[in-house]
């Protein structure tokens, strides 16, 4: 975990409300693991006050990428940054996806909804590097919400898309597309997912029924990102004890069975 107050934006891509920034930050790039995140400072002086968390989209050589959707003031300010500007980041943070040695030769499904696709590209690369195969399920409201699908295609990853309005891929939710594949005999030994809570809960149900190990990346309001504020807790099991645990340390990636889906917690 390092602070880099002058990470330079070396490349910026944008699609309507989605943005992909490449940041030069060798020390952070070197340590990064899929599923980990950065805390990015987007404020002008004192407002908005807190850093914003973003998953690491990729880490290679001296660079890390982040992929984000413009939803409020912080992401708007970040979207206005230009190539050559520097930004202040802390990372890599949190506990990412586990990729065990036994993944070799095994098949994984990676399911991303909307901006939830962010951590899955990096993961897909790592799975391949470890000799596993990955199929990515990528869903959104409309074709415009699937901007990074070409990155997956270019890297040779099998990609299945779904849009709610049917403008690309199958029509409907990505979880429906995934379930349909399972019913068609598609088998996987491991599932990884990131996206809206309702999507994650649905995946938890599906995988629990089928007894497939699943890891889910959660979101939470984060005050610091490195364990100091106790602001990001959700009710999860850690060992035997269910309790309010810090998502920035125990997560953001958790085993599906460790998440307690209860009102005011994860819904």
């Amino acid at each position: 975990m390092k602070k880099d107050s002058r990470a330079q934006i070396t490349r910026k891509e944008s699609w309507r409300e989605y943005f992909l920034l490449s940041l030069e930050s060798p020390a952070i790039a070197q340590d990064a693991q899929p599923g980990q995140f950065l805390m990015v400072r987007a404020s002008v002086d004192t407002h908005p006050l807190l850093r914003r968390p973003f998953s690491i989209f990729s880490a290679e050589g001296k660079s890390v990428e982040i992929f984000f959707q413009k939803v409020g003031l912080g992401t708007r300010l970040l979207s206005e940054k230009q190539e050559g500007d520097t930004i202040d980041i802390i990372g890599p943070l949190g506990t990412g996806f586990t990729v065990e040695k036994e993944i070799k030769g095994k098949h994984s499904a990676l399911i991303g909804g909307g901006r939830g696709i962010a951590p899955l590209y990096f993961l897909s690369q790592k799975l391949k590097a470890h000799g596993g195969t990955a199929r990515v399920f990528y869903g959104g409201k409309s074709v415009e919400d699937l901007p990074v699908r070409e990155r997956f295609e270019k890297s040779g990853t099998t990609l299945s898309c779904a849009t709610e309005d049917g403008s690309f891929g199958t029509r409907g939710l990505i979880t429906e597309a995934f379930e349909a594949e399972l019913n068609n005999g598609f088998t996987v030994s491991r599932i990884y997912a990131c996206g809206p809570e309702l999507m994650l809960k649905k995946i938890a149900e599906i995988t629990a029924a089928l007894n497939i190990p699943a890891e889910l990346s959660l979101e939470s309001v984060m005050g610091c990102g490195f364990g100091a504020c106790w602001g990001c807790v959700k009710r999860i099991r850690k060992g035997q004890e269910p309790g309010w645990h810090k998502i920035c340390e125990e997560g953001p990636v958790l085993k599906a069975e460790d998440i307690i889906w209860e009102l005011g917690n994860n819904e």
């Binding site: 006050l49 490195f226 100091a228 990001c232 005011g264």
Partner: protein, 305 residues
């Protein structure tokens, strides 16, 4: 090199910059960012006797230049602290201050009694001002008599310097500070957070599960600074200034208004190196202004008549 050291009663700090309770974890969280030895000291997260669950999430909401929190003092309790954390912290040569909480006067006393027998603690900060525990923000620091009573009791059992942390949610903070002084507190620190709330207009629900929380950050600095100035002008024991400090300039405002030291809170989340930057800024200011001892600027506000 200027002399940045200050005395808070019998407690000597190598510089006037402390990290505030609840914003610096148990200290170890910040070791990736700094050498803790360079701090004046730090106050660990509030400790009750027993472990506490804290409030359900959402626990944080951002407001204009501010943060409302309703953590609810989740924590590991004083025993696990002494077993698991304290031994690691003893390695550092900086003032370790424990923020002491209690649901009633007896609990405050038993936390202090338990800690008395453990080495490596420089002082206690009595947190009688947390607005997040009881609905409606009740706490001893809202009244002079309840302040007096708990400080008196804890002072009688404490073997270490006692700093009483005051609440800003009062009409007359000087009156409360005087009660703490009279009850034997060695210093006061102010302010804790302002009782506050925020609403999601689409769901019509409070943005915090606890409804109320405590406002901190730059938004509150002008009010906190006024309170520190008023208190420092009226009491004899040292005052520690807290509220919205993000830079050396912010810290200097407090020192000039009469604070002998400051605590940096929310800013630790945003820039975990803030405390050190503030120390460096103070050093720089002393150089530029030809000040050999930081103590010489404390309470030097130039008020025209």
């Amino acid at each position: 090199m200027s002399d940045l050291s200050v005395n808070i009663g019998s407690l000597r700090l190598k510089n006037p910059v402390l990290a505030a309770s609840g914003t610096f974890g148990y200290g170890m969280e910040f070791t990736p960012f700094m050498d803790l030895n360079e701090l004046g000291g730090f106050v660990v997260k509030g400790l009750y006797f027993s472990p506490r669950e804290g409030n359900p999430p959402p626990r944080l909401v951002e407001t204009a230049s501010g943060l409302i929190n309703a953590i609810g003092l989740q924590g590991i309790g004083v025993k696990r602290f002494c077993e698991e954390i304290l031994p690691q912290l003893r390695a550092y040569q900086t003032a370790l201050i424990v923020n002491v909480c209690g649901e009633n006067e007896e609990e405050y006393a038993s936390v202090v009694e338990y800690l008395n027998s453990h080495e490596g603690i420089a002082a206690y900060e009595l947190n009688i001002s947390c607005p997040n525990v009881e609905k409606g923000g009740m706490c001893p620091a809202l009244k002079p008599d309840s302040t007096y009573s708990v400080v008196k009791l804890v002072r009688s059992v404490s073997s270490r310097p006692l700093i009483t942390k005051l609440s800003p949610n009062v009409s007359d903070i000087v009156e409360i500070a005087l009660s703490a002084q009279e009850a034997g507190s060695d210093a006061v620190s102010l302010v804790n957070t302002f009782l506050a709330m925020a609403v999601d207009v689409d769901t019509k629900q409070p943005k915090l599960a606890n409804v109320f929380g405590g406002l901190s950050g730059p938004a509150i600095k002008p009010i906190a600074l006024r309170m520190v100035f008023q208190v420092a002008s009226q009491i004899n024991i040292p005052v520690i200034g807290i509220g919205g400090i993000m830079s050396g300039e912010d810290a200097l405002e407090y020192l000039i208004c009469g604070a002998k030291a400051v605590e940096v809170g929310t800013s630790n989340f945003i820039d975990p190196e803030t405390c050190l930057t503030v120390v460096q800024d103070l050093e720089q200011y002393c150089q530029t202004h030809g000040i050999s001892r930081i103590e010489d600027i404390i309470g030097t506000l130039d008020v025209k008549q």
